[in-house]
Amino acid sequence: MGLILASATCDPSTEIICAPENVRELFEFRTPIFYLGPLPVTRTVFLILLAAVIVSLVLYFGLRKKSVVPGKFQVIVEAIITFVKDGIAVDIIGEHGARFAPWLLSIFLFVLMGNLYEVTPFVNFPITSRIAIPAFLALLTYVVFVVAGAKRQGIRYIVDIAWPKSVPVALRPLVGLIELVSTFALRPITLAVRLFANLVAGHLMLTLLLASGWIFMSHVGEIGARAAIGIPWFALGLGIYVFEIVVIMLQAYIFTLLSAVYVQTSLYPDH
């Protein structure tokens, strides 16, 4: 709302799109609505906690009945869980995959819900576009795959990566260094940044196009000029809205898939 009021002053003759002074205005909601103990509950914090509640409720009401012949809702919830458990955990990681299923399932559901906020009417703000969420989840994945690798292979886990036996001796220091950096530095960073950047870009596109289109159509200039600028922007925004629905599901899938792949490479480095 703040954006729309701020942008209502923008002039279509000098600006083709109504962008705020600073893009941070689109992502930072740091004013506490109320305090939960010492935790200031801002709009973002509220949405994060709400995601946990929604996911828990969906799981609870989806599985509560344990019907032998499930209803539509139960089928959907069961299909999602089975997809993560069998399609990602067991398929990618292998025989020990089922042990990682709760972790992967909660990552998938949390990221999916956080992403879905982007296309939820009246919310329109993905919590995963705040670096805190992807960074925390990526850090968790980092811890899980390093601990899993160290637990299964011991010191050989690091040694095999730093001194790869599959390449010629002369190249081993170089490849080992690259592998070390890519495994222990780039993996968590790219994992977090991939999700973050996709959602930031999506949110920016949607907000700028839909808000600009709406403002031009409703507030600015003559009626002809309004239609000429506002309608194409708004239509483009709706097109990207549909595209973003695909993107948010894909990103939730890819985040979970990569987490599983990282664990798999730690457990079975030869594969």
Binding site: V23, V41, R64, E78, L105, L109
Partner: protein
């Protein structure tokens, strides 16, 4: 609580040093804390409730389908055995019906033969009696006739010959005549 507050302060401080865009790349403390709490809740629900419940449901479903299939198999076998029973029963009934019909036909034939035989017997008897009656009638009539002829002849002879022949000779003549007459028939 101290940790939380200091974490928030630390990220605030770091954020205020960088340029505007960098702030987007630094996690906001309260959001990080909320994210950890939210993830912990989801993880607990997924770990302690969702996956075990789903496993239970799927196992129950598998068992139900299996038992239903088994029941169907069983009832199929039952049905086919019942069908066999019925078919055997129907075949038996048919055979019995055929036997009954054959028996009835045989009995009918016997009765028919019996009736015909009896009727023939009766007819024979009737014919015989008729013959007997006719014969006896003829004998009686012949007797009567002979007597009447004898009497008549005596009367006639008495009148014709009168006293020309004595009584003895007369009787002899008449008797001879009667005998000749009797030999005629």
């Amino acid at each position: 609580m101290q940790l939380l507050a200091s974490a928030i302060l630390a990220t605030e401080a770091a954020a205020s040093e960088g340029s505007d865009g960098v702030k987007l790349l630094l996690p906001a403390g309260e959001e990080l804390i909320a994210g950890i709490i939210a993830f912990a809740i989801i993880f607990l629900v997924a770990w302690k409730f969702a996956l075990p419940t789903l496993k239970e449901t799927l196992e129950a479903r598998q068992a139900a389908i299996k038992s239903e299939l088994e029941a169907a198999e069983k009832s199929k076998i039952e049905a086919s055995s019942l069908l066999e029973d019925y078919q055997a029963q129907v075949a038996g009934a048919k055979a019995e019906a055929a036997k009954i019909i054959a028996d009835a036909r045989e009995a009918g034939e016997a009765v028919k033969a019996d009736i015909i035989a009896r009727a023939e017997g009766e007819a024979e008897a009737i014919k015989e009696r008729a013959h007997e009656e006719v014969a006896s009638e003829r004998a009686r009539v012949a007797d009567d006739l002979r007597r009447q002829v004898a009497d008549l002849s005596i009367n006639v002879a008495e009148k014709v010959v009168a006293s020309s022949i004595d009584a003895e000779t007369q009787r002899q003549l008449v008797d001879r005549y009667i005998e000749e007459l009797g030999g005629v028939h």
